[in-house]
Amino acid sequence: MEFIWLIPLLPGIGALVNGVVGIRFFSKKTAGLIAVSTMALAFVLSVVAFIELLDATERYYQVTVATWIPPIPLETVNGLGSFEVPWAFSLDPLSSMMLLVVTGIGFLIHIYSVGYIDHEPRAGVARFFCYLNLFCFFMLILVLGSNFLVMFVGWEGVGLCSYLLIGYWYKKKSAADAGKKAFIVNRIGDWGFILGVFLIFFTFGTLDFREVALAASTMPVETNLIGFGVVSMICLCLFVGAIGKSAQIPLYVWLPDAMEGPTPVSALIHAATMVTAGVYMVCRNAVLFTHAPMVMEIIAVVGALTALTAATIGLVQTDIKRVLAYSTVSQLGYMFLATGVGAFAAAAFHLMTHAFFKALLFLGSGSVIHGMNEEQDMRQMGGLKRYMPITFWTMSIGAVAIAGIPPFSGFFSKDEILYRTALHSWPLWGIAAITAAMTAFYMFRLINMTFLGGYRGPSWEGAANKHGHGDDHGHAWHGPHESPRLMTLPLIVLSVGAVFAGFFGVPAALGGSNAIEHFLEPSFTVVGASHVAEEAHHLSHAAELGLMALSVLIAVGGILFAYRNYVKQPHESEKLAKSFSGPHRVLTNKYYVDEVYDATVVRGTMESAKGLWTVDRKVVDGAVNGTGWTTLAVSWISHIIDKYVVDGLINLVAWFCGEASYIFRRAQTGLIQNYAFASLFGVFVFVTWYIFIL
């Protein structure tokens, strides 16, 4: 397993090659080939590492590649500590699972991208693959990083790549704006994350995940009795980071806008991998979080509320990608709900299954958009089943999986979360169950509106004539069509994953062994310590089965409701929307959250900036101008003094000399005889003096 540092490096090399050489010289094929092959290699290495990890007795491996920050003395709570950060990567069950998800799904999405991005100009393709590889590089650093700082490098890096890829079509203003929005909102979260990292070092004197967990396990659990201590503060800060990255309330607004990017990007970054980084980070610090039950409570509530809010918005959206975006936010809420109730394994499990079916759904929607000539509005679709059967069937599998119908993967992971939530608190379970019903409804609303019913889109004969060969893709649109094999192949592979990924975690109540939970267990506890969060009360198997049946019933209900409203009686939904026009409008406008943020945060920032500008103009500039004016005044005074006093003195002397010279000037007659006479007179005087006086 010495080679795990190679796994992030490979896509990094791919990004470098494509970025430095590729944008200038590579053809579309070469650029795609390099990106795909690096990802394939990384995936193979990940599989090898995973198998080796399974064989190892102690399922933990750490490799230090290089020193980053050499030991420097730095003050901590326990006196002077040594601050040292190596470039270290570690492999344990959790990171190996994430590794497989990132490289595996990343690899599939790279293949898909080769087909999807084919219409772009040549340099754009290389740029796209450069960004995509760079993203995988940072994401793998984030996953494999053995301490908080290395993870932070990945954390920031994926944020950067997310920004670059959302703004991939940078000439489109909405895409550029969405990129900026994602970056700035993420920055708020990163601020919390880095504060948490500072606090961790200040408290524990180390940034290594294992050492921190070990140190934290000896600290008291900060319940109500002990109060809100330093561990709670750390966890809260880290959670702020997770909120930003994983798009939870109140920072979820960037994710739906992020759909401005190319669809493979939405699938890879904004569904499968990057947005789950927050969940991953919380899971990685499970020991820390279990010592802060109050923060766990906050996480659970935030997660549940996010799941519900996003699901309700998803009910009425008409843009196919936006529905999926809100669905992602909602599912991420589920994951946080799971971590909040202490079911870290369930969260990680759901993370994995969600990565499969959400990547599948996004790629499917990309295929639809591709086939519909960049149309994203579901009201313009319908009946596409006839034209793109592979996309329809694979997407349906994804939808069934996310809705939670057994035996698809979503059922097992979501049910595990619901069950653990029910153990924890019934109101949260209620919210989660309602969300599950909504999820089933909006997913099948999407499927029905897109693939079933009659075709509602533009007619393509006319469109083909109108556009001719001069449209922006260089070829006429001959109606909805199935995507090329490069795009459908990943769909099929992912749908297989979406079907079977759940079998890693069949719960005990159904005769399974819940393998994934046991596999992940070591990552959430400290070596040698007893199981920290042993559940005190278990429901009976019968009750568990009852809950499962209930959630399946809920899901089926949602699906049937969607079927009735959008396929059987397509006008029913409009009637429904009319009779609840108030709530419908609120939901269509996404609870006006963007407007509220715009009016408060954005406007507030702008106004305060304007205020500061005014202060700058009035006070600072005033001071500067005042100084200038004072200098002018002083110089004027000294000028006056110079002119009248100094010059006056000099002129006075000169004038005096001039006036005085009038007297003497008379002597200068210019007549030689006068001078001769004067000298003769002088001689007489002196002779007289000499003779008579002396």
Partner: protein
């Protein structure tokens, strides 16, 4: 004495020059007379020097007068007063 009065009274610059020569030659006669009286050769040597200097002075002076005359067309000392303040 005659020479000194000539210098002071006459207006013609040439006459003034001649008066100056008179003064110098009077001095020469005095020097020779006194050297004879005192039996000292230094007086006569001095006279030779004075004659040489007088010749040079006459040459320079007459040169100035000629140059001046070319400019002003006059040798009247009263009209030569450009050095006046």
């Amino acid at each position: 004495m005659i020479g000194v009065i000539g210098v002071l009274v006459r207006r013609n610059i040439i006459v003034i020059f001649m008066s100056i020569e008179l003064i110098l030659n009077a001095v020469n006669i005095n020097l020779i007379a006194l050297s004879d009286q005192l039996q000292d050769l230094a007086g006569q040597v001095f006279v030779v020097f004075v004659i040489a200097v007088a010749a040079a002075e006459a040459a320079v002076g007459l040169g100035i007068v000629i140059a001046f005359y070319r400019n002003k067309e006059t040798v009247n000392i009263d009209e030569i007063q450009i050095m006046r303040w």
